[in-house]
Every structure is written in structure tokens, then in C-alpha cells.
Amino acid sequence: MKLTPILVGAFTLALATSASAQTLTIATVNNGDMVRMQALSPAFTEETGIELNWVVLEENTLRQNVTTDIATNGGQYDVMTIGTYEAPIWAKQGWLTPLDALSADAEYDVDDILPPIREGLSFEGKLYAAPFYGESSFIMYRKDLMEKAGLEMPEAPTWEFIGEAARAMTDRSADINGICLRGKAGWGENMAFLTAMSNSFGARWFDENWAPQFNTPEWKSTLDTYLSLMADAGPSGASSNGFNENLTLFQQGKCGMWIDATVAASFVTNPDDSTVADQVGFALAPDNGLGKRGNWLWAWSLAIPNSSQNKEAAEQFINWATNKDYLALVAEQEGWANVPPGTRTSLYENPDYQAAAPFAKMTLDSINAANPAEPTVQPVPYTGVQFVAIPEFAGIATNVGQLFSAALAGQISADDALAQAQDAATRDMTRAGYIK
């Protein structure tokens, strides 16, 4: 049998690699900034002698893999990429190692991290993940179309203005939609947008006793506004549009406005990909005068699972990838516009960055306008802006997202969607023991 030598060979190879110099296994998502980090990482190996083993996966696959590993104490990963949703939940479960050494390192300067982001990644006052890049959401709009409609975008518009502008900019014969918004079902897709939007309408997911609130006038007003806006000024087939689909529509000049992640700013202003690169303006996400804006907060961050055997080296890597020198390294190699945004105050004070990224100030203002500790107008028992930081949220919000997506597609009415969402959420929250 020829197979034995092959297997023995593979086995020795596996043993050999695990026995040689220290190797970190890093799990990450396939986003532009992460890919760049991977490309620049040989500099870290050169500096420290620590080898890196990269696992790049699509967001949902990564979440499933990493959760399996961490829940079973598998120890496959030393550094994992997680978001602001996972960080507090996993920290509470005792799955993550607090980044104490990093927080104490004066050179790392943890106070330089933007306060809302730091807040989102902490649990009981301790930092459990270091932000690699942060984002909020804001309005990207076409200056030329706005002018043509005879309107001027204020820096901080209201939903009323957005509705008026979207309808005025729409020109179905020229295939121009006044506004493009997410419609694809998913807790990180349409529900991220709608939850953030609902905050500005005074709505909330749960009251102080964890009772779902979809039967309130605030949620009805949120969904009605969204549906009528999309019916009058949205693209056709919007219920299957997520980030990428809307990005393409906007880049090809088919959207007057698009409210989405601030990281999109560098894509829509890049003349290589975008036909409207020189016509894009930015504004804060809309509000209703209630003191909360409809923008979210997210930070892809690096954390160390408790099961890692190389915690010290892992913290060393996290330091390298999220400190000020890394930003300078990216700037030197790829230019300031490509520096991972949204993590450090010092970056936004840097004149080189301000010159290279016209959207810098608006991004910073958007991030600072989000408050994960007090996300809503009325008090809530949870943290998180466009999500509720409890483990059950992903499942519940995906169900609700499907109902709202169906309402957008015209399959059910807004009232039915809200009533069914209320029932489903109540059932799941009762089952999970929140509602006694």
C-alpha cells in the first residue's frame, strides 16, 4: 500500500511544524483592511521571529468556526477577529483573555482609542478586544443630483428632509433611485440598518423587563417610513440588496443617496471603481429631533481566546496590528487613504490623513454620535447600537429581518410583519428565560 508513507509523511510534517518556532494561528475575515494586514505581516515575523498562520474566512463561516472552537475549548486559534457584538458576550462567558498588558502599555496608549469603540469592546471596565478598524454609518449622496433637485444637504439632516430629497432625486426614466437602503434579510444586513434607524425614531428592541417592543407606535413609524421611502424612491428588487449590491448601484450612478457603513466612503470615492467618484458628498445619518441618530457602531477587533497556548505572543501581535506604528506603516506602504479607519483619535488629528481622506471628519463625527451604552431614547436593559448584546439576538433578529424583508418585497403588510415579529421575539425571549 502506497498510502502509509504518505500518511506518515503528513504526520511527521504536522509534528515538525508544531515543534518549531512559535507559531500563531490568526482567524480573520476577508475584508480589504484585513487582507492588507496579512500582506504587511512579514514585517512582524521579521521583528519578533514569531511565525503567523492565517485563516481567512467569510464572516458567517468565521463566526461559526470560531464559536465552535471557543465553546469546546479547542485551542485552534490564538488570535480571532470578532466584532462589537461578540466582544462583551464572550467576555462575560469567560471565553476571552483580558488585554491587561496592552491596556497598561503607555506606548500603546489605550486612551487614544475612540471612546465609543473602547466602550463597545469592554466588559466590566476591562478591554477584551483591540479595535483593528471601526465604522459607523452615514449618508453618502450625489452632489450633482442634489443640486439638480434644487436642494442642499445639511450636515445633519432629518428623516423628513431625506424623504423629500429622495423623492425629488428619483428619475425612473433615467434609472436613478433617490435612495438605496439595505433590504436583504439578516441580523447584520437589513436589521443592522433598521435597528439603528429605529433608535432615531425613539423605538427600542426591548423595554426594561425584556419585553419586545414591535407593537409600539415607534416601530410602526420606523417601518412605515422605511417602506414608503423604498416604494417611492428605492431600486427595484431591493429586498435582496445588501452592502455589495447597493455599493455597485451607487458606484454606477443609480442611487441619489445611500446610508451605509462609513468604510464604503473609500470605495465610492475611488475613481478606479466608481463612475461618480468626484460627485460624492457625506452627511450624518438622519434623526427625528429626539436626540438619537440612525447610525450604527461596529469595530472589527482582535481578541485572544482563553484556550490559546500562546497568549503572550498573541498579545504581542495584537499590539503590532493595532498600535500607532501600524497606521504609519500602512500609510508609508499604501498611502494615508488606505489606513484602517475609526480606531484612534490621533489618526483624526493627523493633517496628512485629513488631506487624504475627505470623509475623515464625517466618519469621526458619526462614530462619536453613537453610544453603545445608551443606544436608545428610552432606557433599555441592553448595550449595542444596531444590535442587542445578548447571545439570542442573532437568531431572533434574523427571523425578524426575514419578516421585514418580506414586507419590503410586498409579500406581507407592515402590520403583519410587526405583529409576527412581536410574537416570534416574545416566544424566543420567553424560552430563553428573559421573560418570566
Binding site: M1, L3, I6, L7, A10, F11, L13, A14, T17, T25, A27, V29, N30, N31, G32, V35, Q38, A39, N53, W54, V55, V56, L57, E58, E59, N60, T61, Q64, N65, T68, D69, A71, T72, N73, G74, G75, Q76, Y77, G188, E189, G242, F243, N244, L247, T248, L249, Q251, Q252, K254, A261, V263, F267, D272, D273
Partner: protein
């Protein structure tokens, strides 16, 4: 002797066959074309059929980010290795069931098939814990073992069906001539069942090659196969469609070529026993 069919009917059916074949092939064709487009063109709202700016940069970008050769080697070891081990276990097992059945043989066959009825994720946690404790996570041999276990029921079922077609008299005749059990299987049964064994082998190599769930869950960096390689190029946020297509093309190319060259064997094996 072909039947007398009017020319119009023949042309009609030929056209229909071509249309169906093209529909089945279209996703692969689309991947093939997209792999040579720029990212902007790949995701364009008014899609282009042929690449307007023919480019090879996607392949360069894919190789720069990920090691194709390493993943391909893992794929070959895991798929061929698990299939060969499966055959070594499966041939004697199928022989016993086909030529020396007991009253429980049918139950055993059903039981083996029943292991395929549960969704894989149902046993994820136990398997993961076993792999963790045996230090098999992210190893090529660990993956080979799990792939063997997954495909063994299919291997035994396929071989059992082929062996049933072989007249037991021939095996008895060899026994009369004094053949030992080992010789009976290796020198009499196997040569007669070559088409069946070959198609079992090919099908299982393909199944193991395309397996994604266990491969992605049980590996992290060293033992990843080509399915893990593809999945690292998919992203809900950002433009990676052309690179994803290039990665997919690279991943399916070896198995596509293998299928192409062995299609005669494969078809013969799959229809084995249809004509007596």
C-alpha cells in the same frame, strides 16, 4: 442498429440535449468568464458576457494571498487517501454482504445508510471534542480519517450493488480450483468488478474533494484543502467576486480534468449491470 427516426425529430432532440447541457454547464462557464474580468466588471449591474478588459491579475492576487499548491496537495492526499482506505475496508465488507449474507445483512446495510441521514452539524460538537483530545484538529491525517468515515457507507453500498451482479458461480468455481479467500477476492472478484470499483473510486474522490463542512470546521491553516481555499475569498463586504471566481476555477480545475479523462470509465461503471 439505430431506429429509423425522422431527421426533424433528431435535430430537435439534439438541440434540446445541447440546451440542457449548456444550462447545466452555465454556472461553471460564468465562473470561467468572471475569473478573467476586473472586479468592477465582475459585479457590474449590466453584466458583460465576455471580459471587456481581459486580465490575469486575479490569479496573481489569489496566489499572493493564499498558497494554492499547499491546499491542492492537501486536497489530493485527503480525497485519494480516504478513498483508498475506504476501498480497502469496503471491498471485503461488500464481498461478505454480497456472497455470504446472513439474515441481518440487510439491517446492517440500512444502518450504514442511516448514518448519512443525520445532518453533519448534529455530530459537530462530539467530533470536535474527540479531535481536540486526540490532537487531530487541523491535521491532514485527521481530515483523511473523517472523510473515510463519511464516505464508507457510500463505498460499501456501491460495491455491494456491483458485486451482486457478478455470478456467484464464478467465485464458487475458483473455490473448487482451490483458491483461498484472499486469492478469490484479489484475483477473481476484483478483476471482474474493475469498472464498478473504478467508478466508486472516482465518485468518492470527487465527493471528498468537494466536501466543505468538515474541512472548514476541522482545519485552521495547515491542513486546509481547496474548499477552505475558496471560502477564504468570499466576503459580504467588499469586491472579491472576480478573485473568488479565479480561486474557484483553480480549485475545480484538477477534478474537472480528472472527470474529463475518466468519463468513459465513470459512465461505464455507473451503468454497470444495466445490460445483461
Amino acid at each position: 442498429m439505430a431506429r429509423n427516426v425522422p431527421a426533424s425529430t433528431r435535430i430537435g432532440f439534439t438541440a434540446l440535449a445541447w440546451i440542457i447541457a449548456l444550462i447545466l454547464f452555465s454556472p461553471i462557464l460564468w465562473v470561467l468568464l468572471t475569473a478573467f474580468k476586473t472586479e468592477a466588471e465582475a459585479i457590474a449591474n449590466t453584466p458583460t458576457f465576455f471580459p471587456q478588459n481581459f486580465t490575469l491579475e486575479n490569479f496573481g492576487a489569489v496566489q499572493a494571498r493564499s498558497d494554492y499548491i499547499k491546499h491542492a496537495t492537501n486536497s489530493i492526499i485527503v480525497s485519494v487517501g480516504s478513498t483508498l482506505i475506504g476501498l480497502v475496508i469496503g471491498i471485503p465488507a461488500a464481498w461478505a454482504m454480497a456472497f455470504a449474507p446472513t439474515k441481518r445483512t440487510k439491517d446492517v446495510l440500512m444502518w450504514m445508510l442511516s448514518t448519512k441521514m443525520m445532518p453533519a452539524v448534529g455530530v459537530l460538537i462530539p467530533i470536535y471534542l474527540i479531535f481536540r483530545d486526540l490532537r487531530l484538529l487541523d491535521t491532514v491525517h485527521g481530515l483523511t480519517i473523517i472523510m473515510t468515515l463519511i464516505n464508507l457507507p457510500i463505498i460499501i453500498w456501491m460495491l455491494y450493488t456491483y458485486f451482486k451482479e457478478i455470478p456467484v458461480d464464478i467465485l464458487e468455481a475458483s473455490r473448487m480450483d482451490g483458491a483461498e479467500l484472499w486469492n478469490e477476492i484479489v484475483h477473481v472478484l476484483v478483476p471482474m468488478a474493475v469498472p464498478g470499483i473504478a467508478s466508486t473510486l472516482l465518485l468518492n474522490v470527487i465527493l471528498a474533494w468537494n466536501e466543505a463542512f468538515w474541512t472548514i470546521t476541522l482545519t485552521s491553516g495547515r491542513a486546509g484543502t481547496l474548499t477552505a481555499f475558496i471560502s477564504s475569498f468570499s466576503s459580504p463586504q467588499g469586491l472579491f467576486l472576480a478573485k473568488l471566481s479565479a480561486a474557484s476555477l483553480l480549485a475545480i480545475a484538477p477534478i474537472l480534468l480528472m472527470g474529463w479523462f475518466s468519463q468513459k470509465q465513470l459512465v461505464r461503471g455507473l451503468t454497470f449491470g444495466a445490460v445483461k
